[in-house]
């Protein structure tokens, strides 16, 4: 019962945040300098017919309240509008490019998490030299722009060694370098957080108790410390989704991969606002969904939170 209430609370919060995000995006479009119709057309063909179409679709001839409510209604129904530049529904454009981007993001997330776990487990509480070296490596990864990582990898593994294709393609080989590029900074952050969590947990009294039972150090880490180290990492999952979505834009550009990022860039350059708005809203929705899932999984991992509604 209490668990149900906790879940309901988080879902309600997520809904409020989503609504506020949609409103913010809408306000940005309305408050932008210049005529709203012009903004929506962007660099697309500008004819009276299209202008009338836009006014009809966005209800620009109606009071602002109606415009806004209709916008929310459409967003809620998943109707992302129409790109007047591409002369296609936005939903079709995104749908076509979504799989490539999702593949890249998921591959990067997996590589990043696995790498971070391995590094953290190998270095937590170990010899200072090893630990310090890993720390320095993570710092450099976190501080390096994604496009630089991509270009260095491209230069070494594609140009010099010729192990991977230079650009484009849907093959698995073409996925490796972009995914690693996107994964490295993530691994850097996660490894830091995980190691810190592990070391913190290993100093807790319950670890002394566990050791006093005569269990192996490996079991101390696996059964006790790791779970505690995962808690702060879970809270970063929302942030992770944001980094992945933003990072794909740059990574796809560096490697010339087709995907949502390329679509976004073209839309930004051409001022194709329906597409830009849709991408931004989609990314906010993903962020909120992932964060809410993370919050809920927190409830699963940490039984202490199930009791109170906080």
């Amino acid at each position: 019962m209490i668990l149900v209430r906790a879940v309901a609370r988080r879902l309600a919060t997520a809904a409020v945040v989503l609504w506020a995000a949609a409103t913010a995006a809408y306000l940005a479009l309305l408050l932008a300098p210049g005529d709203t119709v012009d903004n929506i057309i962007g660099d697309g063909p500008d004819t009276p017919v299209i202008r009338a179409q836009i006014i009809a679709e966005w209800r620009l001839d109606r009071p602002e309240v109606v415009q806004y409510l209709d916008y929310l209604r459409r967003a809620l129904l998943g109707d992302l509008g129409r790109s007047y530049l591409l002369q296609r529904p936005v939903g079709d454009v995104l749908g076509e490019h979504l799989p490539a981007t999702v593949t890249l993001a998921v591959a990067a997330a997996l590589i990043g998490v696995v790498l971070a776990l391995v590094v953290a487990l190998l270095t937590a509480g170990r010899r200072p030299l090893l630990r310090r070296g890993a720390s320095a490596g993570e710092l450099v990864l976190v501080s390096t722009p994604g496009f630089l990582i991509g270009i260095v990898l491209l230069n070494v593994f594609s140009f010099q060694l010729g192990w991977f294709p230079v650009a484009g393609g849907q093959s698995v080989a073409a996925l490796v370098l972009p995914a690693v590029t996107l994964a490295l900074p993530i691994a850097g952050v996660l490894a830091q957080v995980l190691r810190d969590g592990l070391e913190r947990a290993l100093e807790e009294p319950f670890v002394v108790t566990a050791r006093s039972r005569g269990i192996r150090e490996r079991a101390v880490v696996a059964r006790h410390a790791l779970r505690h180290a995962l808690l702060p990492a879970i809270t970063l999952v929302g942030w992770l989704s944001g980094i992945l979505l933003g990072g794909t834009v740059i990574t796809e550009q560096v490697f010339g991969r087709p995907g949502l990022g390329q679509v976004t860039l073209q839309a930004v350059t051409a001022g194709d606002m329906p597409v830009v708005l849709a991408v931004v809203l989609l990314s906010a929705a993903v962020y909120v969904a992932v964060s809410t899932l993370a919050d809920l999984s927190y409830l699963l991992v940490d039984p202490r939170l199930r009791r109170s509604g906080t």
């Binding site: 940005a28 932008a32 260095v152 230069n155 809270t235 970063l236 931004v280 964060s291």
Partner: protein
Amino acid sequence: MTTTQATRTAGSGLAAVAAGTGAPRRRTVRPGLAAALGFLALTALAVLWPGLLAGDPLAADPLGVLRPPSAGHWFGTDHLGRDVLDRVVHGARHSLTIGIAATLLAAGAGVLLGVLAGMAHRLADEALARSFDALSAFPLLLLALLFIALAGPGTVSLIIAIGIATMPHYARLVRAQTLVVRRSGYVEQAVSFGASRARLVARHVLPNVLGPVPVLAVIGLGEAILAAAGLSFLGMGPQPPAPEWGAMLAEGRNYLRVAWWAAILPGVAVTLTVVSLTVLGRRLQQRFEGRHA
């Protein structure tokens, strides 16, 4: 919920600060700090007086294009025969100006809104807190792209876009801190000495809330510089031939196969700057925590 929110602050360095993680808790490597400070001093000089360190970043030499690093051109030359080192030095001004201005904007607005929310009554606080949440739901890069799509590319757009996108980090931290201080034992004690509300805010709340902001801002600056370089790389920042680091890398990318230096060295400048800022920020954070926590 509060812990999750505090730690879920978007952004690598910022997330680490807010979660109190990331910083090594024991000893720092002093040589690292010294190197970081040295590099930052050099960068500051390049921002304030680039002419002292380097020649004309726009001087093209059609006869000496894509030359590898040599005694004459330490960083080599690019596809127009411009000296890469000269351009990297002059680029510091572009990249850092955007980063610093965006960070000031974000920290200023964030502190204001955060304190406002923390001191406000429950309903107003809740509304503000949710809008911080909503704003940070947008990935930094995409929010900035939305802004640029509406306002057009360029330095000012970049500053405002990054400023708006990073503002919620500061606002959330300051709000959380304000709530903590407001309920602290020492504010309670000050009430018992008859202090007025205005006096409480001025004497106790503000100083204790503002303390961690500069530390956060140093690390946040690194992140702003990274974001600015990324957006410039995508062509949304200062336009060519301005020597911005990200833009230089985008230009040099086309000649990567024959001249890696023109693309990679400007990128290394970004990395070194951000690493130095992070090292400094963590050191400041440790000192700060040593004094307070």
